[in-house]
């Protein structure tokens, strides 16, 4: 799994690729929470288009990001859900809980 952060229009975008599982989901959690809580970024976007697998611990990391952003009045957005990521979020009934867009442009325009 790789997670790369970049800035665009006062937004931090995390490009995640590979498999998110119990071995590496703490890295996702840590990166996202640091950006929301420590850096107080007003809009955090997680790009899941290159995620081939995500387990329940990966989903839990995203939920933590969502909760932290709600607590601080910021936005936490998911974009480009790959088929495996979409399946897991649907099975977990979370697709209506997260703010989700097809791509980066839509997320930044929102």
């Amino acid at each position: 799994m790789r997670i790369l952060a970049r800035r665009r229009d006062k937004t931090t975008i995390f490009d995640v690729s590979g498999d998110i599982d119990f071995a590496n989901s703490p890295e996702v959690r840590q990166s996202v929470l640091r950006e929301i809580r420590d850096n107080r970024t007003s809009r955090v976007v997680v790009n899941l288009s290159q995620v081939h697998y995500i387990d329940s611990s990966g989903v839990a990391s995203l939920i933590e990001g969502l909760k932290a952003s709600r607590d601080l009045g910021s936005r936490f957005i998911l974009i480009g859900l790959s088929a495996p990521a979409r399946e897991v979020l649907q099975l977990s009934r979370l697709t209506k809980v997260f703010e989700i867009y097809d791509n980066e442009e839509e997320a930044l325009a929102s």
């Binding site: 498999d19 599982d21 119990f22 071995a23 990391s61 399946e87 977990s92």
Partner: protein, 143 residues
């Protein structure tokens, strides 16, 4: 049979093996992914709860063909036994959480149950055994 240690770094190996096996058996792609996910979540639960995140404990997995008679037809499938020698499972805690609650944790068991036709936990001596079965979808011969 697949024998491994309780190291989360090996989860990708488990997923690779199960995904190839389910593909070979003819499961549809969506079910290959869901069965693989179920096994991954099962092994993760063992690492976390049964072995308390210790990395060097044994996990054994057995795979064999299963069959049952359903509505007069023979159905074929895959049976997977996931065994560990960690703490005994408290079956009262194996309910998962209601999906209406949006909070981290408790999703793994839901994903396992959603994916498989049979999910059974038993304790045999010092061994926890999780039995997972998934049957291949029936191909309709109707015109």
């Amino acid at each position: 049979m697949l024998a491994l240690y309780s190291n989360p770094g090996l989860l990708s190996v488990v997923r690779g093996a199960v995904e190839r096996l389910t593909e070979t058996m003819g499961f549809p792609a969506v079910q290959c992914r869901s069965i693989t996910r179920a096994v991954d979540e099962a092994v993760t639960n063992i690492v976390r709860h049964s072995y308390g995140n210790r990395l060097d404990q044994p996990i054994a997995m057995y795979f064999r063909r299963a069959q049952r008679r359903e509505h007069g037809e023979i159905e074929h499938g895959l049976e997977i036994l996931v065994c560990d020698r960690g703490l005994a499972i408290d079956t009262n805690k194996l309910r998962g959480r209601p999906l209406e609650e949006v909070r981290p944790g408790g999703l793994g068991l839901h994903l396992i149950r959603q994916a498989m036709d049979t999910v059974e936990f038993t304790r045999k001596g010092l061994t926890n055994q999780l039995r997972l079965v998934k049957y291949l979808p029936q191909i309709s011969n109707a015109p």
